[in-house]
Amino acid sequence: MHSEQSFILNNVWLIPAIPFLSFLTLGLLIRNFPKKLQDQLSGIVATLAVFSAAVLAYWLAWEYFHLFPAGVAKQALVPWSFEWLRYQENLAVNVGVLVDPISVLLMVVVTTVSSLVHLYSTGYMHGDPGYARYFTWLNLFTFSMLGLVVSPNILQMYVCWELVGASSFLLIGFYFEKPSAVSASKKAFIVTRFADLGFLLGVILLGYYGYNLFASVAPSLHASGLTNVQPFDFAFLTNPEVMNQFMGMSDTFMGMGVLTLSMVLIFMGAAGKSAMFPLHIWLPDAMEGPTPVSALIHAATMVVAGVYLVARMFPVFAASADALLVVMYVGAFTALFAAVIGCTQDDIKRVLAFSTLSQLGYMMFALGVSSMDHPLGYTASMFHLFTHAFFKALLFLGAGALIHAVHSNSIWDMGGLAKKMPVTHATVLIATLAIAGIYPLAGFFSKDEILVAALESGHTGVFAIGLLVAGITAFYMFRIYFVAFWGKPSHHSEHAHEAPISMLIPLIVLAIFTIGAGFVPMADLVSIGHSAGGHHGINWAVAGPSLFVAAAGISFAWFMYVAGGKQRSAALAGALGGVYTTIKQKFYFDEIYLFITKKIVFRFIATPIAWFDRNVVDGGVNLSGWLTRASGAALNSTQTGQVQTYGAWFVGGAVTVTLVLWIFFL
């Protein structure tokens, strides 16, 4: 177990550092080059940097899982850290790198998808005026995401969390001249920022109680070999003894124990980033960004940060059963809710966005149904995160290729593309089958495991939702597949042709991952809690029904959109009437939010405050000025300039003074 021999284990910091250096090089150096040179260099530099990070990540995964093979308890290593921010004694942020199974897993996912997206982008974004800017931001994002993944403490996580939010903001608003992109980027940032308020409060709360516990817990932590640990560190927070003390705390707030409260707050942040209901509204709009960005940030990596955060804090969540229940219900509801909306959308990227929401809900409730004693859901969630990243990135990149070909986002403008774009068609079909959960593609295994976990946990309702969602997913995914590839060609799709090679390579590579990822023995690699080990085979009692609903969904989609053409679906929509409209309008959530912000916050808070300040507070200041002048003016009228008036005053004053003196002092 000596990690000293391994170069990569000792220098994990290189993985986030390389994209960062590349970001700096691009942002400070290359951006100042002449336009042509800029465009030539930026794509190459950025892509190479991320590819080398990916190579290092694979190396790391290899080394790490060889150091801790299946069956061996996997240690969390912090090979490198330094004191970044010292709040006070025993309350510092040690920025560093944490290497444990899920961080390694995420590093692999992030670098893989990121490097493929970079490669894809060199083709997709070719000739765009903001080409260099695009790669700069993309590198910034990759750095931030890797920094988030390797965070050994919650504050570093928060820092990187905000940074990915900012880079996501920049990339959604990449086409900054397009008003819809601008408002989408604002919306994404503000909604996640609102969620981050909860996260920040949770961090402060954890820091506060952690700090208060620190003195009593520190000696035993030191004894167990955890030196140089700080209250923000995950190693501290997830330490059993700390959690025990934490649970024992009698402080409550609004009827919630502090542990539950802080976990719910943290989950609020996670829900914002992972776009859980009701903070989901930003993700569909985020599709205004370039499609590769959607693939990388809003499908494969950033949006799973919330899931990752919950997984990272899982022992603490598990210690507070209530918080975990919240995770489960929110996840399950989002899975269903988003899947239902996904059936009605026409924009291919929005359908994918809702499917992302739905799949994220899957991962969340998988975490929610597990516990430290039954950690299958934890493994399943991470597994699904892993497989979803590949097939969803593939779907988005495929969608990007389609959009690139027909210059429209609407699935009705596509149609009949199967022949014109064979490679895209094949890869997208693989991904669609994968997300529908068809054996033996990646999605099948992970989804199956989640359903098994839900069933075993006893939450039958959640299991039923999961099964239902699996069917709906198959339906709406095949809806877009059938319409786009086999539907009636429109004038948009007549001149479509296959994407360039730089875009196809990522598609093919991701397709290979999508086929192969399901066979990764995830249970050996990622597990937590007490019943580690025990490789799960396929539980056909669950897989059978799930395959059945998937097949049913596909058949229904075929029935509606291939066999029936457009008329049948229109008839169904008409039959559903108001229900259909409500779903199509995403249950009017955008309108509700607009109402809250525009009408309530702006009109009834901000405007009155601005008015109050200008008129009442400043009015008070002006009033005091006016009073001074007015009293001056009033006194001024007594100054007639006539000696006689002054004389009268003088006499009056003299008399008064005399009288006063005489009465009071004589």
């Binding site: 709040y87 004694e89 940074l163 900054f176 008070g620």
Partner: protein
């Protein structure tokens, strides 16, 4: 003459040099000013390095100290009979503020490269003002402090009244009068302390050795705090700031919002809290409440503003609220956060005003809805604006986050003499501002820079010139350096903050508002 005196006198010498030049050589004048401020910046850098080496070593030793340790002290008796000394020196707080001022005045000189109306008088006044500011930050004699304070406040009237825009006379008058009311309160407090101490000295360090009676502290502390609070835009005495900032010329807005407003927080900490710990304990929660209003109210007020300068001024009200909030939280993290926030807000708001000046110089409008899509034609300015905006909404990686997280932690962690529930509640209310800030920053900036270009005249506009790039680049780099490497900054100031906290702990055990 030592290092500190040179730091104070250099801007004044520059002003004198400018006076020597005939007014028509305005190009020579700005070069002299730039050289002077550039030399000052270098001197500051040199001092900072020397100081950092000394102060960061003293951190362990200062952990239990109750008296501020000064470095590079110079002391000359001035009026013996009244006990007034020329007593200057540096501690971590002063040092950070000197760095801030030095950077801002250098950037401000670059930003006023195009002042062509009465260039000579402008720079003379500007440099005089800065002399006053440096004097305030480095003097440890109350009388000297007050004298420099007035030197810093008064030129502002002329600078706004002559070179300003809009209702400049009104704004200048309002600003000066309100600050004068503040300084009147400070003067009364100073004299009260002077007489109560019975030491016949204005020496801040010696005055701090006296335990003032609680009855005195009870009424003198709020006088000091309100007096400095007026300058630090404490609610409801902040209204000079939107008008003043909106009317002032670019460099003056920068200096004023960036540096002069910091005198408020600096004085509140340095004098009010340091001399009167008992009063601080008693009034802490009250002022924490007021500053919470500042924070939330300022950010909501900024949402609806149409003028970029008003927009920034309201965000300043909110951000300066963080400074005083940190001070009012009365613990290590609060004080530290207050100082970092002073620094970060100074740089940030200096950046904002510089950029607004540059944008205004091109578009001739400051009205947000009149602009649009400017990022296309002025990418550099847009990027800098976004950096400033991101820093102001507390994005990690910039100094604002370091400051705000300190302040929030400080407020939440509380101390052992103020009601913990109230402090936590106020802190939670204050954190709401991070969302509101995001709303107004993004709304404002998106309207100005993003979207299609709304006015066809804008197509002909140009991006930043070299001097402008230098000026804004310096400020952006400072924000990023402090944000990415906060430990240097914390090492710089931490040793000097312990005494403030320890004094609070050491003073009597009076508990208020429980």
């Amino acid at each position: 003459m030592g290092l500190v005196s040179w730091l104070i006198i250099l801007p004044f010498l520059t002003a004198m040099a400018v006076l020597m030049v005939p007014a028509k050589n305005w190009k020579a004048i700005r070069w002299i000013s730039l050289t002077g401020t550039g030399m000052h910046l270098m001197l500051t850098a040199f001092t900072t390095m020397k100081f950092w080496a000394l102060a960061s070593q003293d951190i362990p030793a200062m952990k239990t100290a109750t008296m501020t340790k000064l470095y590079f002290v110079e002391r000359v008796t001035w009026f013996q009979t009244l006990g007034i000394d020329y007593f200057v020196g540096l501690d971590g707080i002063s040092m950070s503020m000197v760095i801030l001022t030095s950077i801002i005045i250098f950037a401000g000189t670059l930003a006023s490269w195009n002042v062509e109306e009465r260039t000579k008088e402008f720079f003379v006044l500007l440099l005089t003002l800065v002399t006053g500011v440096f004097g305030v930050f480095m003097s440890f004699d109350l009388f000297l402090f007050f004298m420099f304070y007035e030197v810093a406040v008064l030129p502002m009237y002329l600078l706004i009244g002559i070179w300003g825009t809009g209702p400049k006379e009104y704004a200048a008058m309002k600003l000066t009068l309100m600050l004068m009311v503040g300084s009147a309160l400070i003067l009364v407090g100073m004299l009260a302390v002077y007489h109560a101490s019975g030491l016949h000295t204005f020496d801040l360090i010696r005055l701090a050795t006296v335990n003032y009676p609680a009855s005195l502290q009870t009424w003198v502390f709020p006088m000091f705090f309100l007096g400095f609070g007026v300058l630090g835009a404490l609610y409801p005495f902040h209204t000079w700031s939107p008008d003043g900032h909106a009317s002032a010329p670019t460099a003056v807005s920068m200096l004023h919002a960036g540096v002069l407003m910091k005198l408020g927080g600096y004085g509140a900490l340095r004098i009010a809290v340091y001399l009167l710990p008992e009063g601080a304990k008693e009034w802490g929660l009250f002022f924490m409440g007021l500053t919470t209003i500042n924070i939330v109210y300022g950010s909501f007020g900024a949402i609806m503003q149409k003028d970029l300068k008003y927009f920034t001024a309201y965000s300043s009200v909110s951000h300066c609220g963080f400074v005083l909030f940190g001070v009012a939280a009365m613990n290590l993290m609060g004080f530290k956060g207050a100082i970092i926030q002073m620094f970060s807000h100074g740089i940030m708001t200096g950046l904002f005003f510089a950029l607004i000046g540059m944008v205004y110089g091109r578009t001739h409008t400051r009205i947000i809805p009149d602009m649009g899509g400017l990022a296309k034609v002025m990418p550099w300015l847009a990027v800098c604006f976004y950096v400033g905006g991101m820093a102001s909404l507390g994005l990690p990686g910039f100094a604002g986050f370091v400051a705000e997280s300190h302040v929030f932690m400080g407020g939440f962690f509380g101390n052992n003499f103020m009601n913990p529930v109230a402090m936590k509640t106020l802190t939670i209310i204050a954190t709401v501002s991070i969302v509101v800030t995001a709303v107004y920053v993004l709304r404002g900036l998106a309207t100005v820079f993003q979207g299609p270009i709304t006015n066809h005249h804008f197509h002909e506009l140009t991006d930043a010139t070299l001097t402008e790039k230098l000026s804004t680049g310096l400020l952006v780099a400072t924000l990023a350096v402090v944000g990415f490497m906060p430990w240097y900054f914390i090492d710089l100031i931490e040793a000097s903050i312990f005494p403030f906290v320890n004094r609070l702990q050491a003073s009597g055990t009076m508990v208020a508002f429980h």
